[in-house]
């Protein structure tokens, strides 16, 4: 620590990140200085272009420079294969979310106005809208990108907060059912902050153990130090709480149904896809890079968590009556399936590429299907807003066969029926787990297969509630005053179309997507 050394920043590698954050900042400035009537027409193109631009930059990065092999920004950010893949996925998914945000009617006219008050009515009639939503979304997306690519725990913590804080706010901005929305916001905020504190305390413990918070540094320290140090174990478990909270693993899942249900649907879509993808990226980094040496300690615990998550998600979803809440539990179950993949590690690290590829592929297909499903949810409306209650969906197949058919297809993909993308996602993860279980001399072998069996049983239970919705839509008579299906806006139509295309396309020809995932995973994480 002698003298001041100017940090080197690889701007080229970080360009997508910087573009998103930059656009977010400009968005804030627009809110401050642009006249109200102009804001939307500036914000929307700004957001879309920045996301598209960032995606283009990711492509350019891959196409031109290849994948960096060392961490960027003085070891703070790792722009490696998985990062770039996750970035690409997050950017496309959030683009979809922004397209849905762009739809009228999701967000409150004036968040400050008390629900049911004259203020609210006035704000609504004057056609006011919170265009802050766009920069907030961009900040959240930026946080996600950084979260998945962070190479030390501090950056990870900051990214976590940058991602979460805008989301806390966004959750509270629903136009209809504002009480629920605000409640979701409050709960998400309190619990999120609570879990961040755990994350932070765990980080402190690990810092105490390793003397550093950089992931490779921790790994290094573990290879020389004691693996039984309570500081390490305690720190790791508290860190795990924060991460598992974000992906919604049991028993840290309780926020998910409430928040998903209360939040405006485009935001739910963003959380269910983008946040999950980013958080999985972070989970992988922490568990595989930093704590790789602790394999045999965390795997039994993770086994229980994964099994519990799948079962809880699947079982609780059965009796849900709200479509978004049901999808929230479904998302919990899927987080459990992903955790199976997280556990599929090998003694020889280079073999992990297959497991990593499986997880990345799963994230890709699940993300697209999720965004598509939520986009469909936005289209089915009652006079009071979206028709959330499942009973309202009865007979939709007769009223609007195309939409119901598309939604049914998404549900089948969630259930993992062959010839949908979801099947291959699930297959990839299960295969990775079984494959890691068959490695010789691994005492966890049978356990891994056992976990896959648990996953399979959970899938079967989960299939029940997906099928239940299909039954409702197709086999029940429509209610007399059933919900209306609004004509989709251009944006929503594109989102649904693309999601369907990916779900079908990958379901029939998964190889191209697998190739990309394999390539992204081939170099594993930068250590």
């Amino acid at each position: 620590m002698n003298g001041f050394e100017a940090p080197t920043i690889e701007y080229g590698q970080l360009a997508p990140l910087l573009l998103v954050f930059g656009a977010a900042c400009i968005g804030v400035l627009v809110e401050a200085f642009a006249p109200r009537y102009l804001r939307k027409s500036i914000q929307v193109p700004l957001s879309l272009l920045s996301l598209i631009g960032a995606f283009a930059l990711v492509i350019v990065q891959v196409a031109r420079g290849g994948v960096p092999t060392t961490a960027s920004a003085m070891g703070a950010v790792a722009v490696d294969g998985p990062s770039l893949f996750i970035w690409g996925v997050i950017l496309v998914l959030s683009l979809g979310a922004v397209l849905m945000v762009n739809d009228d009617g999701h967000f409150v006219a004036s968040a400050a106005a008390v629900p049911g008050s004259a203020d609210e009515e006035e704000a609504e009639t004057s056609g006011g809208a919170h265009t802050e939503v766009y920069p907030l979304v961009l900040f959240a997306v930026g946080g996600m990108l950084l979260f998945a690519a962070s190479h030390d725990l501090l950056v990870m913590f900051v990214a976590l907060e940058v991602m979460s804080l805008p989301l806390y706010l966004l959750c509270g901005l629903a136009r209809r059912r504002r009480l629920l929305s605000q409640e979701a916001s409050l709960k998400y905020f309190l619990l999120g902050a609570f879990s961040s504190a755990f994350f932070l305390y765990g980080m402190a413990m690990i810092y105490g153990y390793a003397g550093t918070v950089s992931l490779p540094g921790i790994s290094q320290a573990m290879s020389t130090g004691s693996l039984m140090d309570p500081l390490l174990l305690l720190g790791f478990s508290l860190l795990g709480v924060g991460l598992l909270f974000k992906i919604g693993a049991a028993p840290f899942h309780a926020w998910k149904p409430d928040v998903y249900q209360g939040a405006p649907t485009p935001i739910t879509a963003l959380m269910a896809s983008g946040t999950l993808v980013a958080a999985m990226g972070a989970v992988l980094r922490v568990f595989w890079v930093a704590l790789g040496n602790l394999d045999w300690d965390w795997r039994p615990v993770m086994w229980v968590v994964a099994a519990l998550t799948m079962i809880v998600g699947a079982i609780l979803a059965i009796t849900q009556t709200d479509i978004k809440r049901m999808l929230a539990y479904s998302s919990i179950a899927h987080a459990g399936f992903l955790l199976i993949g997280v556990m599929a590690t090998f003694e020889a690290a280079e073999k992990n590429a297959a497991s990593l590829s499986a997880i990345l592929f799963y994230l890709l297909v699940y993300g697209f299907t999720t965004v598509g499903a939520f986009a469909v949810v936005t289209m089915v409306r009652d006079p009071g807003g979206e028709a959330g209650h499942l009973s309202r969906w009865a007979g939709l197949g007769k009223r609007s066969p195309l939409l119901a058919g598309v939604f049914a297809f998404f549900l089948l993909a969630f259930a993992g029926i062959p010839l949908t993308s979801g099947f291959f996602g699930k297959y990839a993860v299960f295969a990775a787990a079984v494959s890691s279980g068959t490695q010789t001399g691994d005492s966890m072998g049978a356990w891994m297969t056992g976990l896959v069996v648990v996953g399979v049983i959970a899938s079967a239970i989960a299939a029940f509630f997906y099928v239940r919705v299909i039954v409702l839509m197709f086999f029940s008579e429509p209610a007399a005053d059933g919900p209306t299906v609004v004509a989709p806006s251009m944006g929503t139509a594109v989102v649904i179309g693309v999601a369907l295309l990916v779900t079908v396309g990958v379901g029939l020809f998964p190889q191209p997507a697998l190739d990309i995932a394999n390539q992204a995973a081939s170099g594993l994480f930068i250590r």
Binding site: L165, Y168, F194, Y207, V213
Partner: protein, 98 residues
């Protein structure tokens, strides 16, 4: 002689966590979360001292900044809720359940 500081930090963290669990007022709950963050800060600084590097202290600053941002967002949410419900009790917000 850093152990005492760690114990203190642990105590503060525990008090904060306990506060989150037993207090109803959203503001108080929120303050308890802040307390937990500060417990972390104390731990960081202590470990920085113990490890003999500055990273921990730097982290503490970061945490403070993040906590400040969190306060902004948190208070905004709590105030909005309060305006709507005329209550700051966390337990009153339980429409979303089961």
């Amino acid at each position: 002689m850093t152990t005492q500081y760690l114990i203190l930090s642990g105590l503060i963290f525990a008090i904060g966590a306990l506060g989150v669990l037993i207090r109803r007022n959203a503001i108080v709950v929120f303050m308890c979360v802040e307390l937990m963050l500060n417990a972390c800060n104390l731990a960081f600084v202590t470990f920085a001292r113990q490890n003999g590097n500055l990273e921990g202290q730097i982290i503490a600053f970061f945490v403070m900044v993040v906590a400040a941002a969190e306060v902004v967002v948190g208070l905004a949410i709590i105030v909005t809720i309060f305006r709507t419900r005329r209550s700051a009790s966390v337990d009153d917000a339980n429409l979303l359940k089961y």
